[in-house]
């Protein structure tokens, strides 16, 4: 009889658990069946009155019913918890296509970008990065570079003159001299920076632009070293194998002096409008450092020699990004600057 009652309770309770619509209803079932004052507890009490054999048997039945109820209850409870969680999370629906607040990262100036790239590149080759003043003396800008006042080469560089005979450096080459004075031989240095030429501005001419001067002074430096170095460097700059050639070029602070051309990166040599059909593009002047320049900077040319080059940073930037109007670089127009 007790068996039957337990079975009835079990099946009734399981149905109620199944049918429970809310955690509260489920809880009510638990209290009724499994609670301290629930039905199973009552059966348990009644069981005490039974003879031992019977009590043992009924105890097992009762235990089975309890386990069955508990497991059913727990699974239903988990289901409710899962539903509750998904309901809560669903309510937290977010439109992630909305824009993120706050400012976007800004943009480095294209010249800064390329300049940094070159600083890193040269740094990896053991070059130190030097700075020099933008306002220079005639001595550093010209005389120390083997360009005395009467030298016609001064005409090659239209100079902005300032009060008191000072001038705006026309090239980054004065930093060669300052670098040699400061560091002494041997040395490897680059000097990127702003330079000035007194000329009218148009799409391809600026009075303010950027150069990167490079110099190596050591015991045995040859033209062969210079060519090797330039080739290595330009291959790294252009991220591809570059063919270079040297031809004579006149710059008073080097002897011999060269114009370095690279094989046209557009046509690869046969000739195109970019290289004016020649297959070559003039890229940078370079040469072996003139003994007078070494001597002026306190370096004995009988012991030391070196090469130097002047890379047109602005031109390189224009080539790399395909910028066709040099004025953009100092125009401050965000529509331009934000492209880099």
């Amino acid at each position: 009889m007790l068996d039957q009652s337990i079975q009835d309770l079990l099946s009734r309770s399981l149905k109620r658990i199944e049918a429970a619509q809310s955690p509260a209803e489920l809880e009510a079932v638990r209290v009724d069946a499994l609670g301290r004052k629930g039905a199973l507890a009552a059966f348990s009490k009644e069981m005490g009155k039974l003879p031992p054999d019977e009590r043992k048997r009924i105890g097992m039945v009762l235990n089975q019913a309890k386990q069955s109820l508990e497991s059913s209850y727990e699974s239903r409870e988990r289901a409710f918890a899962a539903d509750a969680l998904s309901a809560r999370l669903d309510a937290e629906w977010l439109d992630l296509t909305l824009p993120a607040p706050g400012p976007r990262r800004g943009h480095l100036h294209p010249i800064t970008r390329i300049q940094r790239e070159l600083e890193d590149l040269f740094g990896s080759l053991g070059f130190t990065v030097l700075d020099g003043p933008e306002v220079e003396t005639e001595y550093y800008n010209f005389d120390a570079l083997n360009i005395p006042a009467t030298h016609p080469a001064r005409d090659m560089q239209d100079t902005f003159w300032l009060d008191g005979g000072r001038l705006l450096r026309t090239h980054t080459s004065p930093v060669q001299v300052r670098g040699m004075e400061r560091l002494g031989p041997p040395l490897r240095m680059i000097a990127p920076g702003r330079v000035f030429r007194n000329e009218s501005v148009d799409a391809s001419h600026e009075h303010t632009f950027y150069q990167l001067e490079g110099m190596m002074v050591d015991r045995n430096v040859s033209v062969g070293n210079l060519i090797y170095f330039m080739k290595t460097l330009l291959t790294a700059i252009f991220h591809r194998d570059v063919t270079v050639r040297l031809r004579p070029g006149y710059f008073p602070f080097v002897e011999p002096g060269f114009e370095l051309d690279i094989q046209c990166l557009i046509c690869g040599g046969p000739g195109c409008p970019v290289c004016k059909q020649s297959g070559w593009v003039e890229l940078l002047p370079c040469g072996l450092v003139h003994p007078n320049v070494l001597r002026t900077s306190g370096i004995d040319p009988a012991v030391w020699g070196g090469f130097a080059f002047g890379l047109g940073l602005t031109r390189l930037v224009m080539m790399r990004y395909g910028i066709d109007d040099i004025r953009q670089l100092q125009g401050g127009d965000l529509r331009f600057l934000e492209q880099f």
């Binding site: 800004g106 003159w161 300032l162 009060d163 060519i227």
Partner: protein, 770 residues
Amino acid sequence: MKFSYNWIREFVPGLTQAALPLERLITMKTAECEGIEETGRALAGASVAAVLSVSPLPDTHNVKAVVDLGELGLRTVVCGAPNCRGGMLSVWLPVGRKMIHGVDSDGMLASGDELGVSRDHSGILELTGGEPGAAIAGLLPDSIIEIDNKSITHRPDLWGHHGMAREVAAILALPLTDPVKMDLLPAGDAAIKVRIEDLTLCPRYSALVFDNVKVEPSPLWLQYRLTAIGLNPINNIVDMTNFVMAELSQPMHAFDADLLSGDTIVVRTARPGEAFRGLNGEEYTLDPANVVIADEKGAIALGGVIGGFDSAISGRTTRVVLESANFLASSIRKTSAAIKLRTDASMRFEKAQDPANTLRGLARAIELLRQICPGARLVGGVADHKREIPAPPPIELPLPWLAAKLGRELPSDEVRRILESLAFGVAEASPGVFRVTVPSWRATKDISLPDDLVEEVGRMIGYDTITPTAPLVPAAVPPGNPTRRFHHRVRDIVIDQGFTEAYNYSFISEEAAAAFGFSPESHLRVTNAIASDQTLMRRSLLPGIWRNVVENAKHQESFRLFEIGMEIRPRAEGLPDEIPHLVAALYDRHGDGASGLFEMKRVAECLMPGAVTAPADALSWEHPARAATIEWRGKTVARLFELHPNLVETGRAALLDVDLAVLEALSAGEARYTPIRRYPSSAFDLSVIAPLRAHAGKLQETIAASAGPLLESVEFQRQYSGPPLADGTKSVSFRVTIAAPDHTLSNDEIAAARAGIIDRMRGLGFELRV
């Protein structure tokens, strides 16, 4: 400088390369070519034409001419030239048939200009001789190779065709001929005296006198030569001097001898204020820095630059003094720059011409005059006053050193061949060492060191024959550049805050300087500014950024930008200070500008963690109630402000101006670890009632100063004004955190600390809401 291919070939008869490959060779071995221009193309099909008859065409300026082309037969052409007349010899070009004014015109009669042989387009060319139907004698199409002047600045000899021909001969290993016959120079006493007062300024002055001169147009071949290289034919005498200059790089000048006074030509410095009228008709006022050629009465030429108007060759000239002189390069350059006149002569002299060349020029002139002015007679011998110019010392060239410089071994024979082909003298001083003598035309400035010879050999063997070789040097860590690294780090921080980098010019206008409170006098001034708005060197980046703000505000509602650049601050002497600054701007067309300023303040705090913003009196370009300085580690490092609304048409611009030199100095040093506190801290809130314009920062400082040794931090929480607070007051709430290093604070300790602050604040006159 333009070079005629045909002219060069006269001196290098073996030349077979066409102009284009020759130009490439010259570029690779000597000097940069800028291009080739074909000239006189029409000459290829031109024939001598005898004009048989001319009949006018009614109602036109033109005539119908029948011309005899010899074996080619007769042609009828319509011609518009005023000088077209029967019986003349002209030039016919086969340009095809065309109906003109109802006449079937076959070909055309051509002017000198149309043929490219002269600049004359006033009428058709009139020939003095020739067989009808034949080609025009001595006139051939030519290729003009243009050389970049900059690449021959150091080569006085390359300003003449013969010098370039020597290069060509050396490049191609061909023989070179010399057009100069020195034995033509007459011996005997000169017909004019020459005296140089300063042999440094004028190392040599040579002259010849001719009489029985007939001034007339030059023959066509000579006009063609000059026209082809861009010189203007004038008359036979002047053209001859220009021809010699273009051939030998020796500028010459011809005076009308009858217009000179006295029997002596003096080369002297100009008197202060001496007046001189040039051939070009311009008046010049000279000073003793200028060298003049003078007769008894005064200056007849500005030495090495331009001849005088009053002694110029004219149609009436019959006697000529021909000058062939040499001048100090630097003096010519200075004079030419001072009077702003660059001539073909001054351009050559300032490259340091060879004094030995004056006589070569005269010898060549004698031969040319025989051809183009047959009646002219030499009078007397050569007048020649000169400084003795010692031969330059020979250069020792050790061949192993040469190989080490080039990075390539070279057979000594090859070195010798190259140097000799360029007219150097080569002797073997000792085994493996050449003793090289330098030709006079390379010795004036160009070549004096063995390094100069490295170039001569290197360019001729071709740099492409040198194998690129890695330099072998000891590995070494290069000295760092902390300043530059620091600036890069600042850039990264500012970029991360949404700012885009701009570059501005270092030049500003006086107006822009004034807008930011600077007088023009406080700037370094450009003495030869390119434009009136670029006269001053910026001593602040603000004007540039201001322009960026105004310009970009036309296109964008809001933006952030910055620049890192140098403030140029003049000093009494020496170079100015160049102080790196960062100026950042945040613009918003809408809003009240407050959020922009606080965004900007955050940028400052990213650069200077823990910086204190201190209220400051606004400067004239700053919003009068929105300006502050940023103090960090005891120094004023930056200024934070809103740009005065007068300076921005619409919207607001928050600006931050940071002295990067100070910032860098303060940023040095590394962090030191302190152990993490083991006992918990305690916090409580306090609200201070203060006047509306009391600075929260000041209140915070006051609380901090009142908090005693347990204080860990005071943080602003919020502020409030409105009921129930009295008008004109606000309540500012702070969270105070306190802690002890060695124990957990007891409730009593916390209460005591709190009460202490409240007491001291009240003592200072603040009301606290507790």
